[in-house]
């Protein structure tokens, strides 16, 4: 599936897959060219985490990133996007060095999402599997942008409804 080129000077980008495994589950899989302990470090140290979690192209600024990575510890990420800020927060449920992280996302109104990340090292490379379990199908659908994450589209829809209401069919 992924290309294996051993050149260190220009490491090939591995392929990221996303699968909706059930009504409530979403799974992201990706191999990272490095040992699990380093990949785990990048997921658990705030100063490293903030360097990759928010892709530059998304127009978001990570204002703060606090991570208390231990069972029962919390995290809080604050982003700014144009004029507004968004917060994401939750609690770490499991922290098994170099192999497994489980945390909750508690910012949504419909119950919490549980994210499980596993790190499997195979010959110096690490298979990372990110598993999101949403509280309900509705919560996943809402997160999925079919409705909730597309405010512009909804605004357009509102306008459309107004115009449909006011025009008679030809």
């Amino acid at each position: 599936m992924d290309e294996r080129r051993e050149s260190e000077a220009a490491p090939t980008k591995n392929h990221t897959t996303v699968e909706r495994r059930s009504e409530r589950e979403l799974v992201v899989t990706r191999t990272v060219n490095g040992p699990a302990r380093l990949v785990f470090e990048a997921w658990t140290k705030a100063d490293l985490f903030r360097r990759w979690w928010v892709p530059r192209s998304y127009g978001l600024t990570l204002l703060s990133c606090e991570m208390d990575v231990r069972v029962g510890g919390g995290y809080r990420l604050v982003f700014s996007h144009q004029d507004s800020t968004m917060e994401f927060f939750g609690t770490y449920l499991e922290v098994t060095p170099h192999s497994r992280l489980v945390w909750t996302n508690e910012e949504g109104d419909g119950g919490m999402t549980v994210t499980t990340v596993t790190f499997d090292e195979i010959a110096g490379r690490t298979l990372v599997v990110v598993h999101d379990l949403y509280p309900s199908k509705e919560a996943l659908d809402a997160a999925s942008g079919s409705t909730g994450a597309m405010p512009e589209a909804l605004d357009q829809l509102d306008e459309l409804l107004v115009s449909l209401g006011s025009t008679t069919t030809e």
Binding site: T16, L48, V54, V128, L164
Partner: protein, 121 residues
């Protein structure tokens, strides 16, 4: 969220309330067509057909794509297509994240090698 879903349904019903628009959907069910062809088929002006297609498009029932000077319309499989599109957007987000993570891990690896060399000295 419930209101949003409701709004979607309303938009679909609104779009379907017109005989011409229902005809356009029927036509597109048989084959993709340009706006010009649809206008001719339904004896309408180009502007009139553009409006109808716009309503159908906003309701997610039709998608259009402009290639050169021709805008082609086809049926939009809203549910499936939205999910597929969203999954692709989500994949792109994670792909971009992991590409950045690669760089961080690459740096950590390099640092380890340098530190290891220093220790050996």
């Amino acid at each position: 969220m419930v209101q949003c879903v409701q709004a979607n349904f309303d938009a679909s019903f609104g779009a379907l309330s017109d005989a011409t628009r229902r005809g356009v959907l029927e036509q597109l069910g048989r084959a993709d067509a340009s706006i010009t062809a649809l206008a001719q088929r339904f004896h309408m002006t180009l502007t009139g057909m553009k409006k109808h297609v716009g309503v159908l498009e906003q309701a997610g029932l039709v998608t259009t794509e402009k290639v050169g000077r021709v805008r082609t319309c086809r049926l939009g499989l809203r549910g499936l297509q939205e999910e597929a599109e969203w999954i692709e957007r989500y994949r792109q987000l994670w792909s971009a994240r992991f590409d950045e993570l690669d760089k961080v891990v690459e740096k950590l690896k390099r640092k380890e090698r340098v530190d290891g060399r220093k220790k050996r000295k």
